[in-house]
Structure formats: C-alpha cells, structure tokens
Chain length 133, copies 4
C-alpha cells in the first residue's frame, strides 16, 4: 500500500505517469520478500535484475492522497528472464487504475547477462493471475 | 539533447528505467514546439493530452553524464488519440539505448474525453518513421 | 514509515539527497492527518501551503531497502507562516540520518499570500521538540 | 539552461520544490566541467563528493515550460569540504526564483571521509559571488 504524495502529482492534478513504474518496482520487491527473498540480499549475492521491457495501460488517474494497492504476480519465467504482471488499484474503491507488465533479465556483478540462480527460480514460479484482470 | 544527471542514476550505475518516460515526454513537447505548437499554450487553450499507454524496450543502459538524444515522431493519429514513437540514443556514439511508444488522448478542462482540436491535428500529421528503426 | 525503493538510490549506493524533501513532505502530511486535518481537504477548502525555505543536514546515508521513520513537529507558528522540524531515522537501528526544517506560507486559490485559517492554526500549535534532537 | 518538464510540476501548478536540488546538482556539474573537470572522471579516479547540507530559499515559483538558468559558484573551500552557492533564475525575465547553498564532503571508494585531491582544490578556488545576489 502506498499513499500518493505531493511530489507524484502534476499540474493536471493527476499522478504523473512515470511514477507507476516506481510503484510496480516497489510491488515486485514486496512480492519477492513475501516469497522469502530480499532483493537487497539477492544483489549482495551477485544477481541483479534489470528491466528490459515495460508496458503500462492507464485507465483512471490516481490522485493526491489516494491509497494505492499494487497486485503483482509472475506471468512467465525462463532461465534468463522473468515477466511480472501488475494491477494498480485505488484501495478505497477497488477501482482498477492501471495494468502493467515488465520483463527483467539477470545480470552478474560484471553486468553481463547470466542465468537466474536456481533458488531464485524456485521462488519465482508463475502463479495464476488474479481473477479480475 | 539531455545530459544524464546524478538523480537519474540508481545503485546499479544505470539510469533508473522510469526516467526514460520523462525523456519521451520532453521529446514530445519539443516535437510539438518544432511543429509550431507550445503544449503550454495548448493547455491554456483548454486541451490536455494525457498518456493512456506506454511501452518501452530497453536495449542498452544509459549512464551518468551521457548525452541523450530522443527522436520522436507521430506514428498514428485519430480524432481522439495520437500515438508517438521514440528512439532514445546515446549522442556520442549514436547507440540505440531504447525504443518506445506512447498513446495519448485529449481531455477538456473538465477532464473528460474530447476530440483533438482541428488545428492540433494538422500539426500532428504522421511522419515517416526515421529510417534506422 | 517508508521503505527506500530502487528509484531513490543513486550510483554512489546512497539515497539521492533530494528525496529527503519528499519524505519530509510525506511526514508533514501525516502530522496534519494525526491532528485531524487532511491536507487534501485543506486544499479543497482553498488553503494551499507552499514551501519557502528548506534546510537539511545529512549525517548518515540512507540505503536501498532501509525502513525510514520521519519524526515531524511544528517548531514555530505565525499568522502567515509555519515552520516544521524533522528527524529522519533508520527504523531498524534508530540511527539519526538527517535533520531538517521547512518554512511554509499559506496561499489562497488565486495563489496570493493569505492568513492561515484559524481552525488550521489551532491544529498547528507548536509542540515540544522530541528530546533526542 | 534547463526547460521545466511536466514531471517536475505539481498539482499547485508550480515546480515541486525538491527538483531545485537536482537543478543545483546539474549546475554544480557544469561548473566543474567549465573549470576543466568532469565529475564522472573524478568518481572514476576515486573521489566522490556527497552533499551534507542543503539550504534553499524559494522566492517565486518556477512553472511548466519555463527556461531555468542556474548560476553556481564556490563560496568556500577547505581541505575536506566545499560550499557552493546558487542563484536560480527564470531565463526569459531574469527573475530570481530561488537561492541556495550546498556543502559537500569528499569520500574515497571505501566511502570514508577523505581530503579533496590537490588538483581538484585548485579548480575549486572560490570566486567572487555574482553581483546581483
């Protein structure tokens, strides 16, 4: 859950659209943590996940002081790439504000492409998408 | 042309991916200005363009102090929606760092969907995509 | 409480310093809410608070995934200006990361200087500073 | 010179105040470059400058699409600390929008306090403040 702060608004009175990518990142981190893996630790152990593709579809604007819930799940997993799906909702009303998808690849500390470690893959097994999307 | 500043970097040493959406927005504004239309004036005359879809494909990371060039063109135009395409390049090397696409719709001051004004449409006529993409 | 996200880091591996101003803003909003006033409602009723002075002293860097606690209090109140004080701490360790101060003035919907409304002043009565600062 | 982009605005129609710190950082980098030193190279040679104190006084709001000029100078220099001063102006009108000051210390790659290298100090000799401030 994230409370929209003033820095995230723009002069249209909406949340500026680039901020949704940050919320998706935050949700991804929490998703990993719930599965028992801290992304901070993952980096310290030498695996970096970096975004290669982003798609967002904006449906309704988020506004200042809204409480935002982002649901996040693994859509697809391969040895070197993982795809996350997202649903961004206004918590008070359960309105769907946006849907998104990001692909990430794994890098090693030398910043070259590498396999996602086995124990990370196990935690990233794709889940059934939430019903309502 | 945009010089990557320190706030845009992340601890991986790359430009954080959400910043590319800001660069695409900046390029769109300059594209409109070159065609003879200030987006600031457009809002003051009651037409707001808001993003409904974003897609970005990241190919090579941008880094601190890089000079970034964003090429921007109109890919498709309808009465209520315009699609822009983007190529984000490292200026020194002409390397292609990312490609992107955004769809925008027009809103009136009451923030409801409206037609893109005629004189704006004329300026937004789609152009041939740059050759190299 | 705020969890440091990846977008807030920079290539030094620290939280980029401008983000502390956003955290101070978030804390100010929550401080008002605890006193029974939503800043969103305050704007809708025609009073805007805008920052005229910021001072931050950075002592220890915040880092990715840290849990951040910001303590916030009213330091001084006049008819047209309120000064907030802040202590930014790493929640796990109670380390003091930064201290700050912001002055704000009230604007009306025409964006001219105005008095802070009486009922807002009552909620903003200065509090004793937390002991440890 | 910096053109205010949409992401920098907030729902008050002003530039959100934290962005001025980014502009001051950009100006500092350009100041160093003009004196013959790239901050990127400086980091690669093992010296990092990190902000320990920020003060900004906001006088007039910057707005969307404004061209911003930031004047930057060295106010004071010691063996381990440098203080920069800033004047942020609207370029079209020469209006002074804000003034600021930042203190920075030098860190080595182990992120501990170190002296500012001799050749950097030479380039950072304080200059007379611009007349108009």
């Amino acid at each position: 859950m994230h409370r929209v702060n003033y820095s995230e608004t723009d002069q249209m009175g909406f949340v500026y659209h680039a901020n949704y990518l940050i919320w998706m990142d935050m949700a991804r981190t929490e998703h990993l943590r719930e599965r028992g893996m801290s992304y901070r630790d993952m980096e310290q152990q030498g695996t970096y996940l970096t975004v290669t593709d982003v798609h967002v579809r904006y449906r309704q604007p988020a506004r200042y002081d809204d409480m935002i819930r982002v649901r996040c799940w693994v859509r697809d997993l391969a040895s070197r790439r993982v795809i996350f799906g997202y649903a961004i909702e206004r918590a008070e009303t359960n309105e769907l504000l946006a849907t998104g998808e990001t692909s990430l690849i794994a890098l090693n500390p030398q910043q070259t492409l590498s396999r996602i470690p086995e124990h990370v893959c196990e935690l990233l097994e794709p889940t059934a998408d939430p019903v309502r999307l």
